[in-house]
């Protein structure tokens, strides 16, 4: 909401300037168009100029009117915000506490209890309440998780994304019973502890009695968001209690600057799967290189050429209808011309290319026997 009000301020100021600029441009454009209009010679051109000028002027006028309206509307919150310490309730989004050092409504001991926008009456009440500590009560604390945080000689570092547990110890040095109601905590801006960044849940203790001279312990826990990475905050952990007369107190057990760090997790799923992905990419690259090498090595190139030659010779034999040469002369020791495969086990009728049935041959169902058909073809 604070950023919203700033933005509103800025846009309102901008629109004031814009309105001024538009007004002057309006006047100059009017004079310019008048001159242009008068300079025109023919009726048609004059009409054209007139139409264009009317359109442009309409546009400018419209924008100027809009600017004026929003400027008028935005003037009141701007005035409101600029007045010192004046937080009249003009509606939910307008009544805000400007977080300056001299914020009039927050007293010296005022805790950051206002998470929502308070109305004027509530603000007055809170100023009157002035919840502070009682001098009959002495508080101390201990971090249960992370253990040993904030002890003498060690800075208070808290991990993000974890549940922080803190134990508070209260000693009643007065002579009347105190009733402990609640504990609450907040992350605040370290330079200005009245500005609350994050409020944590309030834990209720249901009026635990602490008699005079006695002590009591309370545990409070809160979760740090994992996205609050590597920042320093002002941490306040407060114990709320009331005395025998019913007067409320809010006493800070912890009120110091903490720095958040991202804990080092042992197993990071993201990194693990990234490594798997890289290994697979490397394997794929190796496979690709091996395939390329296999295809384009010199020995393989000759074999490819010979295979190509065999195919072309077969094609030539098919296209030609020659009565020449029943079986190919190039026996090649029982191997194919290219030397790739063994021809000896293939029946001769498949090797005699000229005996191959032409496309106009009958289907196998209609022929009587394969040998008879071959002889009839040979006679043709």
């Amino acid at each position: 909401r604070r950023t919203h009000s700033r933005f509103l301020q800025i846009t309102v100021q901008f629109q004031h300037k814009l309105a001024r600029v538009l007004f002057f441009s309006f006047i100059t454009s009017v004079s310019h168009f008048c001159r242009l209009f008068c300079d025109q010679e023919s009726q048609a051109s004059r009409m054209r100029v007139f139409a264009v000028s009317v359109l442009l002027l309409a546009l400018l006028a419209f924008h100027a009117v809009l600017a004026q309206e929003s400027a008028a509307g935005g003037a009141s919150p701007e005035d409101q915000l600029e007045e010192e310490g004046n937080v009249e309730s003009e509606g939910a989004e307008r009544a805000e506490k400007v977080p300056t050092g001299s914020a009039a409504d927050s007293g010296a001991g005022e805790p950051g209890m206002a998470s929502d926008t308070p109305s004027a009456e509530q603000q007055d009440e809170m100023t009157k309440l002035q919840l502070g500590p009682s001098d009959k009560v002495q508080l101390s604390h201990l971090f249960l998780y992370p253990a040993g945080a904030g002890q003498v000689g060690r800075s208070l570092d808290l991990p993000t994304g974890k549940t922080i547990r803190v134990a508070m110890h209260m000693r009643n040095k007065g002579d009347s019973t105190f009733h402990v109601d609640l504990a609450t905590a907040a992350f605040r801006y370290p330079m200005d502890m009245s500005y609350v960044i994050q409020n944590f849940s309030t834990v209720r203790y249901h009026g635990q009695d602490v008699e005079p001279g006695r002590e009591a312990s309370f545990v409070y826990q809160f979760n740090t968001d994992p996205q609050l990475a590597a920042r320093s905050f002002g941490l306040t952990v407060q114990l709320g209690y009331r005395d025998a007369e019913g007067k409320n107190y809010l006493h800070s057990a912890i009120n110091q600057t903490v720095s958040l760090f991202e804990p080092d997790e042992g197993f990071d799923g993201e990194t693990f799967f990234m490594y798997i992905f890289l290994i697979v990419l490397a394997a794929l690259a190796c496979a690709g290189i091996w395939y390329l090498l296999k295809t384009y090595t010199p020995a393989k190139k000759l074999a490819a050429k010979s295979r190509h030659a065999v195919k072309s010779s077969k094609a030539a034999a098919l296209s030609a209808d020659s009565a020449d040469g029943s079986a190919p002369n190039n026996n090649n020791g029982g191997l194919s011309p290219g030397g790739n495969y063994n021809l000896e086990w293939i029946p001769q009728q498949h090797l005699d290319i000229k005996n191959r049935r032409a496309k106009t041959a009958q289907s196998p169902r209609q022929r009587k026997s394969p040998t008879k058909q071959a002889s009839s073809d040979a006679s043709d």
Binding site: Q138, S140, H141, L142, L144, A167, H169, R171, Y205, Q208, V210, G213, R214, E215, A216, S217, F218, V219
Partner: protein, 201 residues
Amino acid sequence: TDTASAMSQLTACAFLIGLVIFTCGAAADSDGGAQLIGVKSIANNLIVKGMDVTVQYDIYNVGDKAAMNVQLEEDGFPIDYFAVRSGFQHVRWTRLPPGANVSHTLILTPLQTFVFNASHAVMRYKVSDEATGSTVGYTTSPGEIAVIETADYDRQFSAHAMDWLTFGMMTTPSIIIPFLLWYASVRKYSNLASHSSRKNN
């Protein structure tokens, strides 16, 4: 001038003394003795009637001196609601040095199903060797705990062996009958095939 100088000296002394007292008073705010924080927590996620509940007590000394004769008294578990399986309800440590902590565990069995308000335990200790009386402190309270029925726990967590056995028995017919039919037909046709092949050969 004598009296004047004497007066000025007197006021200076008074001022210094006042300062000393003031600082002593300010320092005495921390009392300088032992301070014990007691944390009582229940280690179970689920508390089931007839199953063990583990109550853990941790006592930390955050003061400057050793706490002497530390006693932990737990009277918050009535005898007709909880049976003590292991551990003591009244424990004593002779000395707890500053910065140290001790743990104690108590294992109980709830005898009934109810909602129970687990309250604080009481610690008594002397803040230092030369202290006269004991200081009484309260540990933390776990709050309301609900003891659930054994049947509810079993429904969620047990092995359900009998349920699986019943399920197996109930689904057996719809598996066995088609299998038997198939097996009979396979045997019949494979017999036929072997007979015919023998005939041919």
